[in-house]
């Protein structure tokens, strides 16, 4: 996000002080739960219920993390999630960008119908689709494979919707000029449109990657073993269900481990990301 704008909400000292006070409060409210998760994960089990709550452990320990990595195939789950996340993101970007181009920049019969149907899939309760999808894929022997974890998720309505907005914002004259220079439609799409809308692609990449990384129910249904399962499915076995006691520190350590990659992914792309949203036609 560029900060070249002038300071609107009061240049006065009072206004600025108020803004800073509000910012501190916001940081505390949004940051504290995350920090608590971190702090708890390095507390020994006997300190977790200390009262009043302690933000610094007396005897910090990495025991919970050691338990995670020594006792569970965490690296396998990480690798699976990373492979699934990256492949899904790449596939989604490719498929969604291709689809968004004509929807954003061409008039053709059926355009409104296609848009309407894509929008309608926003509304679907996905939980319902899993049984038909599982049985369908299974009859082709595609379950428990990288295919079942990546390809079905790539028809992503949100990505198409977002990219359509981005693509619409690119001036028509550019395309006309390119075509006049003998550039094909695909040539324009590949060499001019995509490079121009990198922020949009980064935005879709973040949304897709985070969604894929955090996806639980479909990977649960679609994988059958520790070897193929993704991180959230694996981590769910740590939580402990009914009649299974659990350790709060291990739980929080697993939460930290699960959050870290997406947080890093977000921090790495966030410059593009925020600018990306700013470049959409969304704001009208």
């Amino acid at each position: 996000m560029q900060d070249q704008r002038s300071n609107r909400a009061g240049k006065s000292l009072g206004g600025r002080t108020l803004a800073y006070v509000l910012m501190v409060i916001v940081t505390a409210l949004w940051g504290a739960p995350i920090l608590w998760m971190l702090v708890t994960s390095i507390k020994p089990e006997s300190e977790i219920y200390a009262y009043p709550p302690a933000w610094m452990p007396d005897a910090p320990t990495l025991q919970a993390y050691a338990a995670l990595f020594q006792r569970f195939p965490m690296l396998t789950w990480f690798r699976n999630s990373a492979v699934v996340g990256v492949l899904t993101t790449m596939l989604t970007l490719a498929v969604d960008a291709l689809a968004a181009y004509p929807l954003a920049r061409m008039q053709f019969p059926g355009r409104r119908v296609v848009m309407g149907v894509i929008f309608a899939t926003f509304l679907l309760p996905y939980e319902l689709l899993f049984v038909p999808l599982f049985l369908g894929l299974n009859s082709y022997g595609l379950v428990d494979s990288i295919f079942s974890l990546t390809v079905p998720a790539s028809a992503n309505a949100f990505g198409v919707f977002l990219l359509t907005q981005f693509f619409q914002a690119v001036p028509r004259e550019l395309e006309d000029a390119a075509v006049m220079d003998g550039c094909s439609r695909f040539g324009f799409f590949w060499r001019i449109l995509l490079p121009l809308t990198k922020p949009g692609l980064a935005t879709v990449a973040i949304f897709t990657f985070v969604a894929s990384w955090n996806n639980f129910f479909w990977p649960l249904i679609a994988t059958n073993s520790d070897e193929t399962r993704t991180l959230p499915v694996g981590l769910a076995t740590l939580v402990g269900g009914a009649g299974m006691s659990m350790k709060q520190s291990v739980l929080m350590a697993s939460a930290v481990v699960a959050t870290l990659p997406t947080a890093i992914f977000f921090l790495a792309l966030q410059r593009h990301f925020v600018r990306g949203i700013a470049a959409t036609g969304i704001k009208g």
């Binding site: 998760m37 939980e127 060499r191 470049a279």
Partner: protein, 309 residues
């Protein structure tokens, strides 16, 4: 890469020249358009449309996943509407939408306005507010389930330091839904904030400067310049908030399992429970179709309303 391409897309220029209408129809374009669409459409039909149609079909069948489906007409719909639990779920979900919609939009805008200022540290605060977005739902549920505990939770601990009696957030049917709403706002208000931030940055600086010269105060500038220009963003944010509100599930399931006394039992949990714990796919699919219709009606109504304003 061309020299044009290496320049970042100028936002305002892009918008003014925006070809939203897409230009005139050209012969041969239809084929090209569908060629571009074909990979998406193929995946969409195979992995979205067909399963959806299957689900709609299942809503007219009796099927326990293991056996053979049997057509029973509208019986599943009759069954769910005769089920007090389903009606409770609709009522609760509506309550959740009511509790989250306004705060999510207002707070999203307020955060965006606060962090749109040219002050040191806004980038950091934006990152902090956005961070919860990347946390997975089970973690959100476990974390807030603990934060909201009456005796050991941080929420009550800090409330008591300012003299508020401890509240049994998740164990009192009156407080459970508000607690769920607070959790959801913490988790997802950032998406709304980002959309508003983007929209705010797109409002030409000159408009504010001109208004300031004319003697308009901050409030006037907000009401007469900012708000009208934010209308499209407002429409999008409201639509997304309401749709996601109707589809709430994960956090409720992890934090309260629909309790206490069914006070947080929502429609998607009804679907999940009926399909995957009672293995009655028919009524589950019927409930899914009802949810689809509800969100559709709300989205259409909301679009109409936004156009009217």
């Amino acid at each position: 890469m061309t020299s044009v391409a290496s320049r970042p897309a100028g936002r305002s220029m892009a918008r003014r020249a925006s070809a939203r209408e897409g230009g005139p129809v050209r012969s041969g374009m239809t084929l090209v358009a569908y060629l571009f669409l074909s990979p998406y459409l193929a995946l969409f039909i195979a992995f979205m449309l067909l399963p959806t149609l299957a689900a709609v079909g299942i809503s007219f069948m009796r099927w326990d996943i293991l056996g053979t489906p049997e057509f029973i007409g509208l019986d599943n719909y009759r069954q769910i509407f005769a089920d007090p639990l389903f009606l409770t779920a609709i009522k609760n979900t509506f309550y959740f939408v009511f509790l989250t919609a306004i705060p999510m939009v207002v707070l999203g805008l307020a955060l965006a306005m606060l962090l749109d200022q040219k002050l040191n540290g806004t980038a950091f605060v934006r990152t902090v507010v956005f961070l919860p977005y990347v946390v997975m739902v089970s973690t959100v549920g476990i974390l807030w389930g603990w934060l909201f505990d009456k005796g050991t939770g941080l929420v009550n601990y800090y409330l008591t330091t300012i003299g508020i009696e401890p509240i049994a957030w998740l164990k009192d049917p009156h407080w459970s839904m508000p607690a769920l709403a607070i959790t959801t706002i913490w988790w997802t208000v950032n998406t709304n904030m980002i959309i508003f931030l983007a929209a705010l940055q797109d409002i030409p600086e000159e408009l504010h400067d001109a208004a300031t010269l004319d003697g308009a105060g901050p409030w006037h500038r907000f009401v007469y310049i900012t708000l009208p220009l934010l209308r499209p963003a407002m429409a999008l944010v409201t639509a997304l908030t309401i749709i996601n509100g109707w589809r709430v599930f994960g956090q409720a399931y992890v934090m309260t399992q629909g309790g206490p006394e069914a006070s947080t039992f929502v429609i998607v949990q009804y679907i999940y429970l009926t399909a995957f714990q009672n293995f009655e796919m028919g009524p589950a699919a019927a409930a899914g179709v009802v949810l689809l219709l509800i969100t559709l009606v709300f989205s259409l109504a909301q679009m109409k309303l936004m156009k009217a304003i």
